[in-house]
C-alpha cells in the first residue's frame, strides 16, 4: 500500500481516529468506510450521515465579465442564477462532451464559486483560466475550503440549532453565515438523494465542526456509501456516466442544457446531436439473475456488445443488484430485457425508470 505523495484533507486525523479504511481516491487519501458501507448507507437514508468531501475543487470566478464568461463556458443559464442560488452544470468541449460536471454558486452579481470533481480539478482550473479574458479573475481556491456534507432526513434537525435559519434555505439555495459560530457557506445541496447540506468552511475550522456534528448525531460515512447512495439516486459520476466521450443528451442530463440562452461551448454539436438523435441512452437496470454487474461489463444483444455498464452495485436500500448502462435507443424503454456479460457469464437484467430511489417529500 503506497500512501506516498497522497494529499490529505484537514479532516485526515479524524478519519484515522475513527478507524476509517483509507484509500487513494484521485490522489487523495480518503475514507472509503468507517464501520461498513451498508450501515453507513442506511444511516444516511434513515437518519444523518457526515461526509468529508474536502477533496472537491473550488474555482472562484470574479469580475464585471464573470457572468458573460460563465455563460459562454457552461450549458446552464447563469443569467437566471440569482445571488444565493446554485445550479448544476458542466464544462463541455466544443463537441458537447464533458470535461467535468460541476456546481456554480452565485455569491454576488460579479462573484461565483465553481465546484468541481477532485479527479479533474487541476485540468478544470487550467481549462477555465485559459479561456478567461478581459474583466474576469479566476482563482484556484481548492486549499481555501474544507467541505463537509451533512445528509439525511435528520440533517436539518442536527444543523438548525448550530445554524439558525438553515431551514429557510430551499433546495439549491445557500447563504454565507455561521455554523456553531464559525463562518461557513451553508448550501442545501447533496449527492445522496436525501435532504441535506454541504458546508464550506475554512480548513482550520473543519475538525471542530466535524466533531460537533458527530456529537450531534451524524454518522461518519465514507466514499463507499457516497457511491451507493448517489447510484440509487441515479446521479452521474464523472468517469462513469459522463466523460469526454459523452454528451448531456446521452446521459439524460437534458435539463442542464439551455439552448435558448445564447452560444456556449458545445452548443453547435449539441444542436446537431439533438436533431440527429443521441446514438445511445443512459438507462437504469435491475439485475434479475444472481450476480452484480459493474462498470465496464458489456450489454449484449443477439450475442454482440451493444452497450456498456457505467456503474453497478448491490443496493443496500433495495437489497438487489442495480446499475446504469449505455444502450441503443431501441433498448432504452423501461421493461426492456437486457443481457449483461459479467466476466463471461450472461446475467439477465431489466430496464427500470430512474431514479431508483426517490425520498418521500
Amino acid at each position: 500500500m503506497g500512501s506516498d505523495n497522497l494529499e490529505r484533507t484537514p479532516l485526515y486525523a479524524c478519519h484515522v481516529e475513527l478507524g476509517a479504511r483509507l484509500v487513494d481516491f484521485a490522489g487523495w487519501e480518503m475514507p472509503v468506510q468507517y464501520t461498513g458501507v451498508i450501515e453507513e448507507h442506511r444511516a444516511v437514508r434513515t437518519a444523518a450521515g457526515l461526509f468529508d468531501v474536502s477533496h472537491m475543487g473550488e474555482v472562484r470566478v470574479r469580475g464585471a465579465g464573470a457572468e458573460a464568461f460563465l455563460q459562454r463556458l457552461t450549458p446552464n443559464d447563469v443569467a437566471k442564477l440569482v445571488p444565493g442560488r446554485a445550479h448544476y452544470s458542466g464544462l463541455l468541449t466544443e463537441e458537447g462532451t464533458y470535461v467535468d460536471d460541476l456546481l456554480v454558486y452565485r455569491l454576488a452579481a460579479d462573484d461565483f464559486l465553481v465546484v468541481v470533481n477532485a479527479s479533474n480539478a487541476p485540468r478544470d482550473f487550467a481549462w477555465i483560466a485559459e479561456r478567461a479574458g478581459g474583466e474576469v479573475e479566476v482563482t484556484d481556491e481548492c486549499d481555501r475550503w474544507a467541505l463537509i456534507a451533512l445528509q439525511g432526513p435528520k440533517a436539518l434537525e442536527i444543523l438548525e440549532p448550530l445554524a439558525p435559519g438553515a431551514s429557510a434555505l430551499r433546495y439549491y439555495g445557500f447563504r454565507q453565515g455561521t455554523v456553531d459560530g464559525r463562518p461557513a457557506l451553508i448550501s442545501r445541496t447533496g449527492y445522496t438523494g436525501e435532504d441535506g447540506f454541504e458546508l464550506y468552511v475554512d480548513p482550520e475550522h473543519a475538525v471542530a465542526l466535524w466533531r460537533r456534528l458527530v456529537d450531534a448525531g451524524a454518522a461518519p460515512a465514507g466514499l463507499g456509501a457516497r457511491d451507493t447512495l448517489r447510484l440509487e439516486a441515479a446521479m452521474a459520476l464523472y468517469g462513469h456516466e459522463i466523460d469526454e466521450k459523452t454528451t448531456p443528451w446521452e446521459a439524460g442530463l437534458d435539463w442542464v442544457v439551455k439552448l435558448d440562452k445564447g452560444d456556449f461551448s458545445g452548443r453547435a454539436a449539441l444542436v446537431a446531436q439533438k436533431e440527429a438523435g443521441a446514438p445511445r441512452r443512459l438507462v437504469g437496470f435491475e439485475v434479475e439473475g444472481r450476480g452484480i454487474a459493474r462498470q465496464g461489463h458489456t450489454v449484449l444483444a443477439g450475442g454482440t456488445a451493444v452497450g456498456v455498464v457505467t456503474s453497478g452495485t448491490w443496493s443496500p436500500t433495495f437489497e438487489k443488484a442495480l446499475g446504469l448502462a449505455y444502450v441503443p435507443p431501441a433498448l432504452a424503454a423501461p421493461g426492456t430485457a437486457l443481457t449483461l456479460d459479467v466476466r463471461g457469464k450472461a446475467l439477465a437484467a431489466r430496464v427500470v425508470p430512474t431514479p431508483f430511489y426517490r425520498r418521500a417529500k
Binding site: 500500500m1 461498513g36 444472481r290 450476480g291 459493474r294
Partner: protein, 128 residues
C-alpha cells in the same frame, strides 16, 4: 486468530484437511479487506478442479473476489448456508462461513501452503 489446524494460501484461502477431504474458505484478513459480503457464487458438486482454478466468486458492495482452490480435487459438498446468508463469511470466516469441501487428488499441493504462524507473518509483512 488463525486456527493452527488449518493451512493457508497466498490468495487468502484456508483449507482444513480431514482424511482425503478438505474444507475451503477465505481468511479473516480476506473478509476484512472485502467488506460486507452480499453475494456468493459456488461451483456444483461433482465439478473437478486443478490447483489454482477459480471455484467461485464472492462479492461485496464495492468489490468482487475470485476464490481459487489451492488444492486439486472434486467438489463433494457446498455450504448452502453462505449462499443464502453471505454475511456468514464476515461473521465467521473460519467456521460457519466455509465455502466448499473437496476430495483432493494429491497431498502434494498441501506442501506449498503456509501454516497459521507463517500466514500471520505473511499478512503482517504487508506483502499480502
Amino acid at each position: 486468530m488463525y486456527p493452527s489446524e488449518y493451512l493457508y494460501s497466498r490468495e487468502h484461502e484456508w483449507v482444513h484437511v480431514q482424511d482425503d477431504v478438505c474444507t475451503l474458505g477465505i481468511t479473516e484478513f480476506a473478509q476484512q479487506e472485502l467488506g460486507e459480503v452480499v453475494f456468493v457464487e459456488l461451483p456444483e458438486v461433482g465439478q473437478v478442479f486443478d490447483t489454482g482454478d477459480e471455484v467461485g466468486t464472492i462479492e461485496s458492495v464495492k468489490a468482487v473476489a475470485e476464490i481459487f482452490t489451492p488444492v486439486a480435487g472434486e467438489v463433494v459438498e457446498l455450504n448452502d448456508a453462505v449462499v443464502d446468508d453471505p454475511e456468514l463469511i464476515n461473521e465467521d470466516p473460519h467456521g460457519e462461513g466455509w465455502l466448499i469441501k473437496l476430495r483432493f487428488s494429491s497431498a502434494a499441493d498441501l506442501k506449498d501452503l503456509m501454516n497459521a504462524e507463517q500466514y500471520e507473518e505473511f499478512v503482517k509483512s504487508g506483502e499480502a
